[in-house]
């Protein structure tokens, strides 16, 4: 296989990590919503935690993106 082709395939594979971030973000917002509908009084106080969880989950997926970019532009 040509190195250039292998590079592109590897970068594409690394981007699959974003699927996990998608699952995680959906999980966080879904659980927040179900919790908020059960106990709306406590929902507002947990909003910062929701945002924190969202940011942490999103960042994990972006690590995969960074790997893809490293493969594409560094090697």
């Amino acid at each position: 296989m040509e190195p250039e082709a292998a590079k592109l395939i590897g970068a594409g594979l690394a981007a699959i990590a974003l699927a996990g971030a998608g699952v995680g973000i959906g999980h966080i917002f879904g659980n927040y919503l179900s919790g908020a509908l059960r106990n709306p009084a406590a929902a507002a106080s947990q909003f910062p935690n929701l945002l924190l969880g969202f940011a942490l989950a999103e960042a994990t997926g972006l690590f995969g993106l960074v790997v893809a970019l490293i493969i594409l532009f560094v090697f």
Partner: protein
């Protein structure tokens, strides 16, 4: 600055989504072989610091606050409340540090979203890993020093979780140690990757708007508007997350929850 960047590109139109991250010197300075040029990154850092200082200092003397003063007071209270929740009263001394970090990152992220064609080329300082890594490493070293000063050698107990079966302990110590030392990496890469990925995505969609012509271009344009809103949210969130995690690391060092 604008004409310089375009000529450097060789007339290839700004469709390359990575072009926005290029650092080029404005004022060339050479300190004994070390390249200490004043670059566009330095210029934007100066702009960030000045804008934060103006926001917090301008008209901050009235009893009934004006709009600008309200923003400054809101930001102050926001961080003060967040610190009180996480650190308690023990971390009061670190308020200036965390407030500065938060405001600087927020200003850098928000200035990155501002684009005035020709006049003001947008540049996101925090989309460069060396900037975020420097800040994260500072926080990491500070937390470690604070931990050792406060607890002496007892700070090493942080790596030994309590209430764990003896068989699992060696494994957990290794995991805890690794997770401690990857903190600066995850802290810096989180901010850098979010900023860089967001801005690359915006540029890619902007390329679609140009590429799809007058009629088809409106679809990616609508998506761009939504993405810009999302990016502004992310810009704020990442500054907040950086501040929160700094607080959590300092809390580990001061109060030692393990």
């Amino acid at each position: 600055m604008a004409s310089e960047s375009h000529s450097a590109e060789g007339g290839g139109m700004a469709l390359d989504p990575m072009h926005q991250f290029e650092v080029h010197p404005i004022l060339k300075i050479n300190l004994g072989g070390i390249d200490a040029s004043f670059t566009n990154a330095s210029l934007w850092m100066v702009i960030c610091v000045i804008s934060v200082a103006l926001l917090l200092l301008a008209g901050s003397s009235k009893l009934v606050p004006g709009r600008l003063q309200s923003v400054g007071e809101l930001a102050y209270e926001f961080i003060a409340n967040m610190m009180r929740d996480i650190l308690g009263d023990s971390g009061r001394a670190f308020f200036p540090l965390i407030f500065t970090l938060f405001m600087f990152i927020l200003a850098a992220n928000m200035w990155g979203m501002v684009n005035i064609p020709v006049l003001l080329h947008p540049f996101t300082v925090t989309s460069h890993i060396i900037v975020t890594f420097a800040m994260a490493m500072f926080v990491f070293i500070l937390a470690t020093i604070v931990g050792f000063v406060k607890h002496g050698a007892g700070y090493l107990k942080l790596f030994v979780p309590s209430g764990v079966p003896a068989i699992l302990l060696p494994l957990l110590v290794v995991i805890e140690t690794i997770s401690y030392f990857t903190r600066p990496i995850s802290l810096s890469v989180r901010l850098f990757a979010n900023m860089m990925a967001g801005h690359t995505m915006l540029k890619v969609f902007a390329g679609f708007v140009v590429g799809m012509g007058l009629l088809g271009g409106f679809v990616p344009l609508a998506i761009m508007v939504a993405l810009t809103g999302l990016e502004i949210l992310v810009a704020f969130l990442q500054a907040y997350v950086f501040a929160v995690l700094t607080c959590i690391y300092l809390n580990d060092a001061i109060n030692m929850h393990h």
